[in-house]
């Protein structure tokens, strides 16, 4: 039965289900046992401090321990407090977690989930605000999940925990308190299947994470003037290319919205795929609304200049349909 809960509560439920159903699932990270954190609330009390344990502030050591535990047969969920902090542990993430399966010819697999808060929080500055899924998606060997709402968060995380491969789940700091209908029972959402958020015929908007909601708002505001289709790929790796190409075939126009850096990032990837495989369907150049390669400034007015938002998306849509 569905009831209304928050994004963070949905994440907590997916972990609770997994910890209940599979003794190999463990959870650790900085402060995951703290009673006030909504995405892990109550888990230590139910499953004990062995399986739900706090780690010292040493990302390399505890992410590496997650990689090792996964190789040795556990299914660790490792929480990284902020995705920006993962930059201190890049050897364990990119060299070890991501590459070990390929480098062992598939003889070793790493069934590990790394959860991390990402995104602009309003005045977080550039070490507490980044997206970085572009960095992760660039390296082969990790599945990349960016849920945009509570329903997807629970279902995608459930799938992530069951996956035999490393999965990085990006949870937007500004979505933590977002409410939505979520079934009480456990369910899984397959990776690589995009969600059609708004159906339309004039322009396709592809967006991920929090930007899905900004894009949907833009579509709603424009609904009497422009018919906007909004697609949420939900997972960057694997990516539902088909859904994007099919939509562009219908609309002939594409706007990609991405909170991450524009250069060599997700927005560039989607634009490249459409240029390679859907070029002849395009009636206008592809537009991108992304971070223009600026470390996010602390001042909120300056931050607003850099971040994509509904207003900028509307401007881009109007530009490609005129």
């Amino acid at each position: 039965m569905a009831r209304t809960i928050t994004y963070a509560e949905a994440i907590c439920e997916a972990q609770r289900d997994a910890l209940r159903n599979d003794p190999d699932v463990i959870l650790f990270g900085e402060n995951v046992a703290a009673p006030w954190r909504p995405s892990t609330k109550g888990l230590k009390d139910e499953f004990g401090k062995e399986r739900v344990r706090d780690a010292p502030i040493t990302e390399t050591a505890f992410i590496g321990a997650g990689v090792g535990a996964a190789i040795a047969g556990m299914k660790p969920i490792v929480e990284l407090m902020l995705i920006d902090f993962g930059l201190v542990a890049m050897d364990q993430i990119l060299n070890q977690m991501a590459k070990t399966t390929y480098m062992t010819g598939g003889n070793i697999n790493v069934p590990m989930v790394m959860r991390a808060i990402y995104g602009a929080r309003g005045g977080g500055a550039a070490t507490h605000s980044e997206c970085l899924y572009g960095v992760y998606a660039h390296m082969p060997g990790m599945k990349i999940v960016v849920p945009s709402n509570p329903y997807d968060a629970k279902g995608l995380l459930a799938t992530a925990i069951k996956d035999k491969n490393p999965v990085v789940v990006f949870e937007h700091s500004r979505l933590t308190n977002m409410k939505g209908e979520v079934p009480e029972e456990s369910y899984e959402i397959p990776f690589g299947v995009a969600n059609l958020v708004r159906e339309g015929s004039d322009v396709t908007v592809v967006a991920v994470g929090k930007m899905v909601n900004e894009a949907a708002r833009a579509a709603d505001e424009l609904k009497d003037k422009v018919s906007v289709e909004v697609i949420d790929p939900r997972t960057l790796v694997p990516l539902d290319e088909e859904a994007i190409l099919r939509s562009v075939q219908k609309t002939g126009r594409l706007v990609v919205v991405d909170e991450d850096y524009e250069r060599c990032g997700f927005s560039a990837e989607v634009a490249a795929i459409v240029a390679e495989k859907g070029f002849h369907n395009l009636k206008a150049p592809v537009a991108r609304v992304a971070n223009p390669n600026v470390p996010l400034p602390f001042n909120k007015e300056l931050e607003k200049q850099i971040l994509p938002d509904t207003e900028k998306i509307i401007r881009a849509i109007k530009n490609v349909v005129k």
Binding site: I26, E50, R51, R53, A55, P56, T58, T60, A61, F62, I63, G64, A65, G66, V67, G68, A69, A70, I71, A72, G73, M74, P76, D91, Q92, N95, Q96, T100, T101, Y102, M103, T104, G105, G106, N107, I108, N109, P140, G141, K143, K162, D163, K164, N165
Partner: protein, 313 residues
């Protein structure tokens, strides 16, 4: 703790060292014949791998380095599949995709050579974590060198292991025991400002000890105590063994095989005949591994695209 070493254990230690050296000499032969590429050798450290592994069972895990041969051979990794991997063949432990620096043989808990200096150390804490959570009495051994001992990830993992009381032993092989060198170059500024790396153990709240890594029985005793501590749930230990990187022959005073051979001959545990028998048996195994590797097929070109992910739930 007093630990007497039986003749049978002595001969096992000796044989394990001979096996490691013979295996690496087999690699040298193939390298000199131009049949395989470059490999970083373990030669000179045999006593450490042999003596540490003598305390392990198959279900215990090890994490290793870019000089992994001793650790892997002593842990019982498949010689044929290892040699095939070194030769980049499809029958290798890693199907020819990892090479010598990345050999894994999970059947015997040999969970990884590693191409990044210090890279395997945090992962090895994960093997120990699994043992702890599963309430087994298995332990994990984390091998690394004196250079890796300064890496942030190694220092972090020493702390994590102590905080979580993980069942593991850190085994640092210090190959610059007198003057500090890096890949043979005498460095102007030292990598270490202390004489013994195990001096760091108390700073992390764990037990530690150092010893000569070319005296196999000493390593056996020191490692035995650390392994027992880990198995009992009394937490991790940081050990350091000084070694000298050597070549194929056994003429150095620091050659652990030569030292032990002389000792066992004096004790009448080893005879010329028995030594000959051990060496010819090990040589035959290594020859078989070399033939297997050379006779194995290259991977199919299409295999380049496989194994990025494993399939299924």
């Amino acid at each position: 703790m007093h630990m007497s070493i039986t003749d049978s254990v002595k001969l096992d230690l000796y044989r394990a060292m001979v096996r490691i050296r013979t295996f690496e000499n087999g690699i040298r032969t193939l390298m000199n014949e131009g049949k395989i590429g470059h490999v970083s050798f373990y030669t000179g450290g045999e006593a450490v791998a042999a003596a540490v592994s003598a305390h392990l069972v198959k279900e215990d895990q090890i994490g290793s380095t870019h000089r992994p041969m001793g650790h892997l051979v002593a842990k019982g990794a498949d010689l044929k599949k290892m040699m095939a991997e070194i030769a980049a063949k499809s029958t290798g432990t890693n199907k020819g995709k990892g090479g010598a620096y990345h050999i894994f043989d999970k059947e015997v808990g040999a969970l990884g050579a590693n191409g990044i200096v210090g890279g395997s150390v945090p992962m090895t804490a994960g093997y120990a974590l699994r043992n702890q959570i599963k309430k087994t009495d298995n332990i994990a051994i984390s091998y690394f060198g004196e250079g890796a001992s300064n890496q942030g990830g190694v220092q972090e993992t020493l702390n994590l292991a102590a905080c979580w009381k993980l069942p593991m032993v850190f085994v640092c092989e210090n190959s610059s025991p007198e003057e500090q060198t890096m890949l043979g170059h005498k460095i102007d500024y030292p990598q270490l400002s202390i004489s013994d790396i195990s001096l760091r153990a108390p700073a992390y709240g764990m037990s530690g000890g150092s010893g000569n890594g070319w005296e196999v029985e000493k390593v056996y005793k020191i490692a035995g105590e650390a392994v027992e501590r880990a198995r009992k749930g009394d937490g991790p230990t940081l050990l350091e063994f000084k070694i000298h990187r050597l070549n194929a022959d056994e003429d150095s005073e620091y050659c652990p095989i030569k030292c032990y051979r002389d000792k066992l001959m004096m004790e009448n545990v080893l005879t010329e005949e028995l030594d000959e028998k051990i060496r010819s048996e090990e040589a035959a195994e290594v020859k078989e591994a070399m033939d297997y590797a050379m006779g194995s097929p290259e991977p199919e070109p299409i295999e380049a695209f496989d194994d990025i992910f494993v399939e299924g739930n």
